[in-house]
C-alpha cells in the first residue's frame, strides 16, 4: 500500500481522537481524560507525518526546542497568570500558520485559488499572532494605553487598511496576489494590523477577545490544512474554530452586547447619561463590624470579580468560606461568566485555592433566591453587580444579565476606592440602604475578618 494512504488512514484515526477528546473536555467528570486523548491524537498525527520526511533532523530540533520552551513556561507559570499564558500560546499557534502560508507562497502555487488561500491564511494567522501578543501585554499589564490616544488610532487605522488590502487583493484583483512585492506588503500590514485589532479593546472585554483569537487560530490552522491538502489539520482546526466561536458568543451574551459592538465600538460611545450627584452617600463599615454581621448570617453569597484576582485574595476567600461553613453558615459563590479577564477566570482562581466546584453557582441559579441571602460579599466585582443593568433603561449596560446582590438583605462591597468599573458607569449599588462599603485591599480586609473568626 502507498505510504500516503496509510498516513491518511492514521489521520482519520487521529481526527476521531480529537473529536472524542474535545467532547470529553466539555464535561467535568471526563475533562482530564479528554485533554489526554487530544494530546494522544496530536502525537499520533505528528509521528505518522514523519514517515516520509527525508531530512528530519532540523525539524526534530525545532520540536525539541519548542517542547522545552513550552513545557518550561507551562510548568513554571503561576495560576494567576493563566489568561496571559493562554494568549501567548495562542499567538504562537497563529505565528506557525502565518509562517506556513508564507512558505507556501515561495513554493510557487499553481492556481489562483491557492493564492487567495495563502493570502487569507497569512492574514488570519498574522492577526492572531500580533493580536494575541497585544492581548498578552494587556493581561500581564505590560501595555497600558488609552483607547483615544494617537498611537491606538494609528494602529487601528492600519488594521482597517490591512483588511481592505486583503479584500481588494483577494477578491478584486487576485492576479496581483502572485506578485512578490505585493505579498511582502501584505505580510507587514497584517502584522501591524493585528496590533491595531486588539489595542483599542479594553481590559473588561478581554474574555471576548481571547475567545475570538482562539477561534481565529483554529480557523487559520484549518485553512493551512486546505492549502496543504491535509485533512487532520482541517478537522482539528475547525473544532478549535467552533469552540472559540461558542465561547465568544457566550461571553457577548453575558454582556448583552453584540460581538461587533465589543470589537469596534466599546463602551466609550455609550457615555453615561446619569451623573453622580443624585447618588447620595455611601455607608462604610469596618472589619470588626463586618465580622459580627457575618458571624450571625445563616447564608452568605460570595461574588468575586477581577479585583479578587488583582489582590490575589482567592486563598483567604476560601479560608473565610470554610470558617463560615464551620460556623453553620451556608456559603455559595456567585460567578458571573464575564467576571475577570478570560472566560471562566474566577473558576480557575477558586479551583486553585481548593474551593469545591459544586458551590460555584451561575447568576441564574442564585438570583431567584437572592432575597433569602443574609449577606452578599462582593469582592472586587463592579459592573457584573450593577443594578443599573436592570433598573435604568438609559444606562450603557442596561439589559446585561447581572448577579442581583442588591436584593440580598445586606451587601458588603470590598473595594479599594470609589472609582467606577471598567464600563465607566456609576454603580448605584454602592449607595443603596442595605449596602456597606469595606474599603481597602481585598486580601487585607478578608484576612482581617478571618483572624477575627479565629480569635
Amino acid at each position: 500500500m502507498d505510504i500516503s494512504v496509510i498516513q491518511n488512514i492514521v489521520y482519520i484515526f487521529s481526527s476521531i481522537l480529537f473529536i472524542t477528546g474535545i467532547k470529553m473536555l466539555g464535561r467535568e467528570d471526563t475533562a482530564v481524560k479528554g485533554n489526554f486523548l487530544s494530546a494522544l491524537a496530536m502525537l499520533v498525527a505528528v509521528l505518522v507525518t514523519f514517515i516520509n520526511i527525508s531530512d528530519p533532523l532540523i525539524l526534530v530540533a525545532g520540536i525539541g526546542f519548542g517542547a522545552a520552551i513550552g513545557s518550561l513556561i507551562a510548568l513554571k507559570v503561576k495560576m494567576t497568570s493563566i489568561p496571559e499564558m493562554v494568549a501567548l500560546f495562542n499567538g504562537f499557534g497563529g505565528l506557525a500558520t502565518f509562517l506556513i502560508a508564507w512558505s507556501e507562497f515561495n513554493s510557487t502555487p499553481d492556481n489562483l485559488f491557492q493564492h487567495i488561500l495563502i493570502m487569507t491564511t497569512v492574514y488570519i494567522g498574522g492577526i492572531t499572532f500580533t493580536g494575541s501578543l497585544i492581548a498578552y501585554g494587556k493581561l500581564a499589564e505590560k501595555i497600558q494605553i488609552v483607547k483615544t490616544s494617537f498611537i491606538t488610532k494609528l494602529f487601528t487605522t492600519i488594521f482597517y487598511i490591512s483588511l481592505a488590502f486583503l479584500v481588494y487583493s483577494a477578491l478584486v484583483t487576485p492576479i496581483l496576489a502572485t506578485n512578490f512585492e505585493f505579498f511582502t506588503v501584505l505580510l507587514v500590514l497584517t502584522l501591524i494590523g493585528g496590533i491595531g485589532f486588539v489595542l483599542p479593546i479594553g481590559g473588561g472585554d478581554m474574555p471576548v477577545v481571547i475567545s475570538l483569537l482562539n477561534s481565529f487560530s483554529g480557523i487559520a490552522a484549518a485553512f493551512a490544512g486546505l492549502l496543504l491538502l491535509n485533512n487532520v489539520l482541517i478537522v482539528a482546526g475547525s473544532l478549535v474554530g467552533a469552540s472559540g466561536l461558542i465561547l465568544t458568543i457566550i461571553m457577548a451574551k453575558a454582556m448583552n452586547r453584540s460581538i461587533g459592538n465589543i470589537l469596534f465600538v466599546g463602551y466609550a460611545s455609550a457615555s453615561s447619561s446619569n451623573s453622580a450627584e443624585e447618588q447620595g452617600e455611601v455607608n462604610p463599615i469596618n472589619v470588626s463590624d463586618a465580622y459580627l454581621i457575618l458571624e450571625n448570617a445563616s447564608s452568605v453569597l460570595i461574588v468575586p470579580g477581577y479585583g479578587m484576582a488583582v489582590a490575589q485574595a482567592q486563598h483567604v476567600v476560601r479560608e473565610l468560606g470554610e470558617l463560615l461553613e464551620e460556623n453553620g453558615t451556608e456559603v455559595k459563590y456567585g460567578i458571573h461568566p464575564v467576571a475577570g479577564r478570560m472566560p471562566g477566570h474566577m473558576n480557575v482562581l477558586l479551583a486553585e485555592a481548593n474551593v469545591s466546584y459544586d458551590v460555584l453557582a451561575e447568576p441564574e441559579d442564585v438570583n431567584p433566591t437572592m432575597d433569602s441571602v443574609d449577606v452578599a460579599v462582593v469582592i472586587g466585582a463592579n459592573d457584573v453587580v450593577n443594578p443599573s443593568a436592570t433598573e435604568e433603561p438609559g444606562s450603557p449596560i442596561y439589559g446585561m444579565p447581572i448577579i442581583e446582590v442588591h436584593n440580598a438583605k445586606t451587601v458588603f462591597v470590598l473595594k479599594r476606592s470609589m472609582s467606577s468599573g471598567f464600563a465607566g458607569v456609576q454603580n448605584p449599588l454602592f449607595f443603596k440602604q442595605n449596602t456597606r462599603m469595606l474599603f481597602g485591599d481585598a486580601k487585607d480586609s478578608i484576612g482581617g475578618i478571618v483572624s477575627e473568626f479565629k480569635d
Binding site: 479528554g34 506557525a96 467552533a242
Partner: protein, 90 residues
C-alpha cells in the same frame, strides 16, 4: 479543484460538529476548554512538518513554524492538564 471541494466539505462538517459538541459547556470549564482547544490549534505543527525545504528561506520558515507550533502544543496541553487537576469536588 475537486480536492478543495471535498476538503471544503470536511471543513464545514467539522465546524458544525464542533458547534454541536461544545454548545452546552458548563462555565466551570470555560478556561480549560479554551486552553485545551488552544493546544489543539497547535496541529499547525503537522502542517509545518509537511513544508518543503528547497531553499534557505523555506528551511528557516519551516524550522520557525515547527518551533512555535511545538511551544503551542506542549505549553497548551501541560497548562490545561495542570488546570484540570485543580478542579475537584469535595
Amino acid at each position: 479543484m475537486e480536492d478543495y471541494i471535498l476538503l471544503g466539505f470536511v471543513l464545514i462538517l467539522s465546524i458544525y460538529l464542533g458547534l454541536e459538541l461544545i454548545s452546552k459547556v458548563p462555565s466551570t470549564l470555560h478556561t480549560p476548554l479554551m486552553s485545551g482547544a488552544n493546544a489543539i490549534s497547535g496541529i499547525a505543527l503537522v502542517g509545518a512538518l509537511l513544508l518543503s525545504v528547497d531553499s534557505q528561506l523555506q528551511t528557516a520558515l519551516a524550522f520557525l513554524a515547527v518551533t512555535f507550533a511545538s511551544i503551542n502544543v506542549f505549553g497548551g496541553y501541560l497548562v490545561t492538564n495542570r488546570m484540570l487537576k485543580m478542579f475537584k469536588k469535595k
